[in-house]
């Protein structure tokens, strides 16, 4: 039996640049937060029509990825694939970091963040948002316990049970996140049960892509030798998840196109040549789906780590675009209060709302990524998260 050995990473010069970047990002995030708290949200690009903007795109990306990245550990604990076992600890750490990052951005953008205690203690249980607060904080707790079961030798036997619980929790959490939009009957772009499974597929895709980037980072900077089996498995996983997201995306839009009542939004998004049309077709479909699909399925690149890394970056880029399109275009598109009538008013009725993101919103969002990275770096420094070797010979039962 091969015992997997883990190590913690030594603090040295190569952390200098990442830590500086993290520090700058966090400082600017803090600056943005204090400015918005003092001055109000009029400084941002968000308004009374597009009420959620770039910070929410970042926050939801991070939260959805956090859920998906824990899947790597689930494949080992729940689905019993031994080759993934050495990757489980990293999966847990990254999940915690990403979720903290996402939650932080969400909280910092609130109109009254000083009322966080109110948000944590007063609940309206009909609201999916309220449920999400439990689901997200519960997820953190479960991920910590999950890691504890992995680290503590005598608790290893509980990893499967905790892993299954975590898996179920993740499904519900990501369903809840998709349902934030899916439950909104008022908006033509949302109001669909399809958004929940779409978000689950996205979570798996983004989480796996980020994980691949992490493995690459460990491989190139920390002398962790990664064998072919891990490479091939991760590559195939990415392929399946790209297909899953593509399937749900197509199904979502196809179903909408069958309903004449949804045609206005679909036409607006898919054909009308505004910014969202270009983002969707070029950003999300071409660069974020079809190109990585080709790269991870083509025989030409079946042994190329760099191509896999590039695919991951494209997927993450496409993922941001996808969330941007879902969140922003859905709000920018005007409500259809009077079918058959043309509307206009002093409040923007009947018009596509303008949304021009401000620098403050990007600062908040990047702060979330910085926190996630900080948690990751801190974790690998102080505890043994990194597997000593991911060589084929050292993996149990492949």
């Amino acid at each position: 039996m091969n015992l997997i050995r883990y190590k913690s990473v030594e603090l040295d010069k190569k952390f200098f640049l990442p830590v500086i970047l993290i520090f700058i990002a966090l400082a600017s995030c803090l600056f943005a937060f204090v400015t918005l708290e003092h001055e109000g949200h009029w400084l941002t690009g968000m308004n009374n029509q597009v009420v959620w903007g770039i910070p929410h795109v970042f926050a939801i990306f991070l939260i959805v990825s956090a859920s998906g990245i824990l899947n790597i550990a689930s494949i080992s604990s729940v689905f019993g694939v031994p080759a993934y076992k050495p990757l489980s600890r990293l999966s847990g750490l990254l999940a915690i970091g990403l979720l903290i990052g996402g939650l932080m951005v969400l909280v910092l953008d609130l109109g009254r963040p000083d009322r966080l205690i109110v948000a944590m203690t007063t609940f309206n249980f009909k609201s999916i948002f309220a449920w999400n607060i439990f689901l997200y904080t519960g997820f953190l707790l479960i991920a910590v316990i999950y890691l504890w079961m992995m680290f503590e030798g005598r608790f290893n036997k509980y990893v499967t049970r905790v892993g299954m619980f975590a898996y179920g929790w993740r499904i519900i959490l990501t369903t809840g996140t998709g349902s934030i939009f899916g439950f909104l009957v008022a908006k033509e772009a949302y109001d669909s049960a399809m958004l929940a499974p779409l978000f689950i597929a996205m979570s798996l895709l983004f989480g796996t892509a980020i994980f691949i980037q992490t493995i690459y980072y460990l491989k190139s900077s920390f002398e962790v030798i990664v064998g072919e089996i891990i490479f091939k498995r991760l590559r195939k996983l990415l392929l399946y998840f790209i297909l899953a997201v593509l399937y749900f995306t197509i199904l979502f839009h196809l179903t909408n196109l069958y309903a004449t009542t949804h045609h206005d939004y679909e036409f607006f998004l898919l054909l009308s040549g505004n910014v969202y049309t270009y983002l969707f077709w070029i950003g999300q479909i071409l660069l974020g789906t079809l190109l990585p699909l080709y790269l991870v399925s083509s025989k030409r690149f079946e042994n190329c780590w760099n191509t896999l890394l590039l695919s991951s970056f494209l997927i993450i880029f496409g993922g941001f675009i996808q969330l941007y399109v879902i969140i922003i275009s859905g709000q920018a598109f005007p409500l259809d209060m009077f079918p058959g009538f043309i509307e206009n008013s002093t409040f923007g009725d009947g018009e596509v709302a303008q949304y021009i993101p401000s620098i403050y919103e990007f600062m908040l969002g990047l702060g979330g990524i910085a926190i996630a990275s900080a948690v990751f770096i801190f974790g690998i420094l102080i505890l043994e998260f990194v597997p000593d070797s991911l060589k084929d010979e050292h993996l149990q039962n492949k």
Binding site: F123, N124, F129, F347, D349, Q354
Partner: protein, 247 residues
């Protein structure tokens, strides 16, 4: 037989002319609910359901008396930023694509019986009072704006900047979401009407009628049973308290 002979002595003349006189001013008197202030320590009751009937035939495109009145009543400032400035009530101009007919109607929070904004608020700050008025409890609002996303009527606004010189009867502040309160402060002190309705009457248009939907004897109930009242986006099944005539 002299069936149609009218007896016109002085007494009868005085009786009849008084009746005619009263009948002519009655619409003005009865158009508003009788003002009855609820005792200060009595909570709002679900026996009442406040609502409005808006007769859009009386609205013209160039009139926005209701909007001005609401802004004045609640101290709503114009910051020159229409995308983020608060609007509790607005005039919506409609053109029927099929026939070309135009309407200009006031649009505000519809005070639904099944408000989506109440369903989605994570802290329960968005709530429906017993007498049907949908409000934001600004002590509990965390400013997440989810209710704004869920509103089918774009009724809610977010306060994007620091406010000063708020009016004591209309507390409003940065970071909270707000919308038409059906002038709850006026209702509770017994004014029996809203600022927009009052201004509309003053302007001579009589387009906005406020009253108790649960009282079959109220003017609004009578008008509804006579002329009907259309619910905007009725397919959503929200059973709004604000109804429209003429569209």
């Amino acid at each position: 037989m002299k069936k149609y002979e009218i007896k016109l002595d002085r007494r009868n003349f005085l009786k009849k002319s008084t009746m005619v006189g009263l009948a002519s001013i009655a619409p003005g008197v009865f158009f508003q609910e009788f003002a009855h202030a609820r005792p200060l320590d009595e909570p709002a009751s679900d026996k009442i359901r406040w609502g409005m009937l808006i007769d859009t035939n009386q609205c013209t495109e160039d009139c926005d008396a209701c909007v001005t009145a609401c802004n004045d009543e609640h101290g709503i400032e114009d910051f020159g930023r229409p995308a983020t400035d608060t609007q509790w009530i607005r005039k919506l101009n409609l053109i029927d694509e099929f026939s070309g007919k135009q309407h200009s109607i006031p649009m505000m929070c519809q005070h639904c019986e099944n408000p989506p904004c109440v369903d989605v608020c994570p802290t329960g700050a968005s709530f429906k009072r017993a007498d049907g008025i949908v409000l934001v409890n600004k002590h509990t609002c965390i400013g997440c704006r989810y209710c704004m996303m869920s509103c089918p009527y774009k009724a809610r606004s977010f306060v994007h900047e620091n406010l000063e010189n708020q009016l004591p009867h209309a507390p409003r502040g940065k970071g909270c979401v707000e919308s038409c309160t059906l002038c709850v402060h006026k209702i509770d002190r017994g004014d029996g009407t809203t600022a927009c309705s009052e201004a509309c009457q003053k302007d001579g248009h009589q387009a906005i009628l406020f009253g108790d939907l649960n009282d079959p004897e109220s003017e609004i109930s009578k008008q509804l049973s006579k002329f009907g009242g259309k619910e905007i986006r009725s397919d959503l099944g929200l059973n709004t308290a604000v109804r429209y005539r003429g569209i």
